[in-house]
C-alpha cells in the first residue's frame, strides 16, 4: 500500500521527538513541516528545535505551497503559544478545502463540531486525539476498594519539570526494548499518545474528584493493560514535574506523581533533570526527595540538553518554566562532569546510543530480581 505524505503544522520542539521516532517516519512516505515565522525555525533543519543530530527536513513557512504535496495535515500541539483563530483556523480551512485529511493533536474544543462537519462535507478524514472520537478502553469505577499487585515489571519515568526530554525518552526506550524483542506497554505523559500507538495519561485522573478513587482506578487501569496486552514491561511516564518549582509554577505540587506511585510500585525508575552544574549534595537531595515522597529508587539519570533560563525566570516570573537549548558538544562535557558527582549512571537522551544503554541497564536491573526465586 502506498504510504501517505504528511504535513505537520505548526512545527516546534514538542513534535521533534515524534519526528525522530523511527516508527513515525516509517509510517509516511514524505514528511513536510511548516512553522510560524516568529518561532525562529523557518529555513532551518527540524533538529534546530532540540539541538540534536540533523533530521534532514527543512522547516518551511510556506504552508499553502506544501499542501499540494501531501495527503494529510497533522495539526500539532506546540510548546510555543499561538492564536487558534489567527494562526491555525485559516490553515485548517485551507487544508480541508484542498481535500486533505486532518489529524488534530491540539485541542480544538470550540471548533470541534464545525471542523468535523466541514470534513464530512468535503469527504476528508477527520481525527482528533484530544477530543471524544478516540475511545478509552478503560472506564473508571467508583466502587473499587483495593489495590492489586502488578506482576509485570514497571519502569517509571519522571521529570523534575516539563521540558526535560521525558517524551523522547518514552519513545526511544519503548523502541529500544522492542528492538530487544520485548513486548512493551506504555502509559505516556502526553494527552495524544494514542497517535504514537500507546496510551495517554488517562483522563479520569483529571475528571475524578476523589483522590483515593484516582489512585484505585489508576491501579485498575494498569491491571487492565497488563491483562489485555500481556506485556513484558510496562512503562509509566508521569506528566509534568514532580515538585513545586516556585509559588507560580506548582507542577501540581507533585500530587499526580504521588498518586501514581501509590497506585503502582515501579521496579525501576529513570529521572530526567534540566542541565545544571550539579553538586553531589544537590543530586543526593533530589534523590532523597524522590525516595521519601514517591518511594522510588532512581536507577538512571537523564540530563536534558535544556537549562532553566534564569534571567527570564527571575525577571519576568513567567507562568511556565522558560528554558535554553544546549548544544551536544557542551552536553557531552557537562554530562561527563555530572558523572563525577553521583554514583547513579548519568545519560543524555539526545546522545546517540544512550537510550540503548539505559534500556540495557534497566534489563540488567530487572534481571537481578529474576535471579532470586520468584513465585
Amino acid at each position: 500500500m502506498k504510504k501517505e505524505n504528511v504535513l505537520i503544522y505548526p512545527y516546534d520542539s514538542q513534535f521533534t521527538p515524534m519526528l525522530r521516532d523511527k516508527g513515525f517516519r516509517e509510517r509516511y512516505d514524505q514528511v513536510f513541516i511548516s512553522s510560524l515565522p516568529g518561532w525562529g525555525l523557518c529555513g532551518k533543519d527540524a533538529s534546530y528545535t532540540d539541538g540534536g543530530d540533523l533530521i534532514g527536513i527543512t522547516v518551511s513557512q510556506e504552508f499553502e505551497q506544501m499542501l499540494g504535496e501531501v495527503d494529510t495535515v497533522i495539526f500539532a500541539e506546540t510548546d510555543n503559544s499561538y492564536s487558534f483563530k489567527n494562526n491555525i483556523l485559516p490553515k485548517v480551512t485551507a487544508a480541508i478545502e484542498a481535500g486533505k485529511n486532518v489529524i488534530f493533536l491540539m485541542k480544538i474544543t470550540e471548533q470541534f463540531h464545525t471542523i468535523r462537519e466541514q470534513c464530512i462535507h468535503k469527504g476528508v478524514q477527520f481525527t482528533s486525539y484530544r477530543e471524544s472520537n478516540i475511545e478509552e478502553a478503560y472506564q473508571p469505577a467508583v466502587s473499587v476498594q483495593e489495590i492489586e499487585d502488578c506482576r509485570t515489571p514497571i519502569l517509571a519515568l519522571i521529570g523534575l519539570a516539563e521540558y526535560t526530554n521525558k517524551f523522547k525518552l518514552e519513545l526511544e526506550l519503548k523502541a529500544a526494548f522492542e528492538d530487544m524483542g520485548y513486548r512493551v506497554s506504555v502509559v505516556g505523559s502526553r494527552p495524544y499518545c494514542e497517535f504514537m500507538g500507546f496510551h495517554s495519561f488517562p483522563t479520569f485522573m483529571n475528571e475524578l474528584t476523589n483522590e483515593s478513587d484516582k489512585i484505585l482506578n489508576y491501579n485498575k487501569y494498569i491491571m487492565h493493560i497488563e491483562a489485555t496486552e500481556e506485556p513484558d514491561l510496562i512503562i509509566i511516564a508521569v506528566p509534568g514535574g514532580f515538585m513545586r518549582y516556585n509559588n507560580k509554577i506548582t507542577n501540581d505540587f507533585g500530587i499526580t506523581a504521588y498518586e501514581i506511585f501509590q497506585a503502582v510500585v515501579p521496579d525501576t525508575a529513570v529521572l530526567s533533570l534540566f542541565h545544571e552544574r550539579y553538586t553531589s549534595e544537590y543530586i543526593e537531595g533530589i534523590l532523597n526527595s524522590i525516595k521519601y515522597k514517591l518511594g522510588l529508587d532512581i536507577d538512571a539519570i537523564n540530563i536534558a540538553n535544556r537549562q532553566i533560563d534564569w534571567i527570564e525566570m527571575v525577571s519576568s516570573q513567567p507562568g511556565q518554566v522558560s528554558t535554553l537549548t544546549l548544544n551536544l558538544d557542551f552536553m557531552r562535557k557537562s554530562t561527563a562532569e555530572c558523572r563525577l558527582v553521583t554514583s547513579i549512571p548519568v545519560f543524555n537522551t539526545m546522545e546517540k546510543g544512550d537510550n540503548e544503554k539505559i534500556a540495557n541497564l534497566i534489563i540488567d536491573k530487572l534481571s537481578e530480581a529474576e535471579l532470586a526465586l520468584n513465585f
Binding site: L36, P37, G38, G40, N87, I311, E312, T323, L324, T325
Partner: protein
C-alpha cells in the same frame, strides 16, 4: 579546624550595634562586640575558640569558601544564549538629534560618537529584525527598541519596522520600545504610533528651570520643556490609553536643587500617575570630566530619602512617596524581601554579579549595522563592538567582556560585594580597552554603596521594619 584563611564576610558597626555580612549566605548577622573584635583580628585563628563563632560555623556561616577562579558560568554557553535566546534588539535609527543636551553621551563631553546625520536604512533595520527572530527560538517574548539620536526624526522608518516585525514575527509575542526626548511626540505622530504594542520612554528632567538648564534645541539653543510638557499633556488628553505605555526618564543633575525636582513630581501628580518614573544620575562612565554632587543636593536628596523611610516605618503619616525616591530604595527592599531565602555558596569557578551576557538582553545595532552589548556603551570603543549584521557575533570579544572580573581577579575573590556587584564591562572601559584601573575605581563605589545599603537595612530592622510595611508603602 584552624585555618589561615579569613571567612568571606564584611564586618560593620551601626549605631551601637555590631554586624557581619556573610557573602556565601548573603545574610546579615547581629553579633556582640567581643565577636566583632575577634572577627576583625588580623590573626584568623583567634576566632576558632569563641562559642558564638563555633555555633555560627556549625550553621554554615563564616565560611572561608570563595571563588578559586573568576570565570562566568555563561561563558561556556554563549553560542546557545546568543543563538537561541536573544531577547531584544535596539535599532539606532538615527545618530541625529534636534536637542543638544549638556550631559548627553553624544554631546562631546564623553568618549563616544557625536551627533551627525547618519541614519539607518530600512534594509539594514529589516536585517536586524530578521536577526533577532532567527536567534530567539527559546525566548518567550521579543522586543524591538528604537533609539537615536532622537528616533522620532525617523518615525516613518519606525512604523515601517514595526509593521514588518509584526508580519515576520507571527506566532511570537513581540513588543516595541522607544526612547524619545518628546519634542516630536505631537498629536500627529502619537496617532501614528497608536495600536502598536509600544512602550514610550520620554526624557523629562523636572520643572522648566531644571529641564531647560540642560536640554535645549539644537536649532536655537532655547529650552525644550514647554514643547515636551505640552506635547505629553495634549496626547494624553486626546489618547488617554497611551498613558499606560508611557514612562518618564529623569536624568538628575546633581548640581541642581533636588527640592525643585521633588516639588515638581509632587505637584504634577496627575501628569505622572499611571506612568512609571525612572530616575538616574548624570553618568560619569566614559565622561571626560567627572560630574560632582553639590553639597546642597546631597543634603536635600538624603533628607527626602530619610523622610521616606520614616514614612515606611509608620513614624510619619506623609512623605514624598514618589517613584523617584522609592526606586532609590529598590536594592534595600529587594534584600529585605529575599532575606529569608537560602542560597547556594559561591562556586569554585564563579564570577561576581553585574555583567549580563553582552548583547543577549539589549543588543544594540548602530546605523551602520554593528553590534554593541547595549545602548549605554561607547560606540567608539573597539572592545565594545561585538559583531555585525554581516559577520554575526564576535564570541571572543563577548567572552572577554563577560569575564570582566578577570581584570581584578584577586580583589574579586575576597570582595564582600561579590554577589551584589553592579560592575559590567561598560564601567571598566577606559574608551579604548578594558582597564583594571577604571574597574577598581568602580569597585570602590560598589563597596561603598553596598555598605550603605547594609547599614540602612540594619537601621530599618532596629527601628522595627517588617516586610508588610514595605508592601504597604509601595502600594
Amino acid at each position: 579546624m584552624l585555618t589561615e584563611i579569613k571567612p568571606l564576610i564584611h564586618t560593620f558597626k551601626n549605631m551601637s550595634q555590631f554586624y557581619f555580612f556573610d557573602v556565601n549566605k548573603n545574610k546579615i548577622i547581629n553579633i556582640d562586640e567581643e565577636t566583632y573584635r575577634a572577627l576583625n583580628d588580623p590573626d584568623p585563628t583567634l576566632i576558632e575558640g569563641i562559642p558564638v563563632i563555633r555555633k555560627l560555623q556549625s550553621q554554615g556561616y563564616l565560611s572561608v569558601n570563595r571563588a578559586q577562579e573568576i570565570k562566568h558560568a555563561n561563558g561556556e554557553i554563549l553560542e546557545e544564549l546568543l543563538g537561541y535566546n536573544l531577547k531584544k534588539i535596539i535599532l539606532q535609527v538615527t545618530q541625529n538629534c534636534n536637542f543638544r543636551c549638556n550631559y548627553c553621551v553624544y554631546s562631546g563631553s564623553y568618549v563616544n560618537r557625536v551627533h551627525n546625520n547618519k541614519r539607518m536604512d530600512f534594509a539594514v533595520a529589516r536585517k536586524g529584525i530578521d536577526f533577532l527572530i532567527a536567534h530567539s527560538k527559546d525566548a518567550q517574548e521579543i522586543d524591538i527598541g528604537f533609539y537615536g539620536g532622537e528616533p522620532l526624526l525617523e518615525i516613518d522608518l519606525i512604523i515601517q519596522c514595526m509593521d514588518y516585525a509584526i508580519q515576520v514575527a507571527e506566532g511570537k509575542n513581540v513588543s516595541f520600545s522607544l526612547t524619545t526626548n518628546g519634542s516630536l511626540l505631537n498629536e500627529t505622530n502619537a496617532k501614528k504610533l497608536l495600536g502598536y504594542n509600544l512602550r514610550i520612554t520620554v526624557s523629562l528632567d523636572g520643572p522648566q528651570e531644571v529641564h531647560d538648564k540642560n536640554r535645549t534645541f539644537a536649532s536655537n539653543g532655547c529650552g525644550t520643556f514647554n514643547t515636551v510638557y505640552n506635547n505629553i499633556k495634549r496626547i494624553v488628553q486626546k489618547y488617554p490609553s497611551i498613558k499606560q505605555n508611557l514612562s518618564f526618564s529623569m536624568v538628575i543633575d546633581p548640581t541642581a536643587q533636588f527640592s525643585c525636582l521633588d516639588e515638581f513630581i509632587g505637584s504634577e501628580e496627575e501628569f505622572f500617575n499611571e506612568s512609571s518614573v525612572i530616575g538616574s544620575f548624570i553618568s560619569n562612565a566614559y565622561r571626560n570630566e567627572e560630574v560632582r554632587f553639590s553639597e546642597n543636593f546631597i543634603g536635600e536628596w538624603e533628607y527626602s530619602r530619610f523622610k521616606y523611610l520614616l514614612f515606611v516605618l509608620g513614624k510619619v503619616s506623609k512623605a514624598n512617596n514618589s517613584q523617584l525616591i522609592r526606586s532609590s530604595y529598590r536594592e534595600h527592599f529587594d534584600y529585605v524581601s529575599k532575606s529569608h531565602r537560602n542560597i547556594a555558596p559561591i562556586a569554585k569557578a564563579d564570577h561576581h554579579s553585574g555583567p549580563c551576557v553582552p548583547g543577549q538582553i539589549r543588543l544594540f545595532m548602530s546605523t551602520d549595522a554593528f553590534f554593541y552589548p547595549c545602548e549605554r556603551v561607547s560606540e567608539t570603543s573597539d572592545i565594545m563592538r561585538i559583531g555585525s549584521i554581516e559577520e554575526g557575533f564576535y564570541f571572543d570579544k563577548i567572552e572577554e567582556l563577560l569575564n570582566v572580573g578577570k581584570l581584578t581577579e584577586d580583589n574579586c575573590k575576597d570582595c564582600f560585594a561579590f554577589r551584589n556587584c553592579k560592575i559590567c564591562a561598560s564601567l571598566s572601559d577606559d574608551g579604548t580597552k578594558l582597564s583594571r584601573e577604571t574597574k577598581l575605581k568602580a569597585c570602590q563605589d560598589v563597596r561603598y554603596n553596598l555598605e550603605e545599603v547594609l547599614k540602612d537595612v540594619v537601621t530599618l530592622k532596629e527601628c522595627g521594619l517588617k516586610k508588610e510595611m514595605i508592601q504597604k508603602a509601595m502600594s
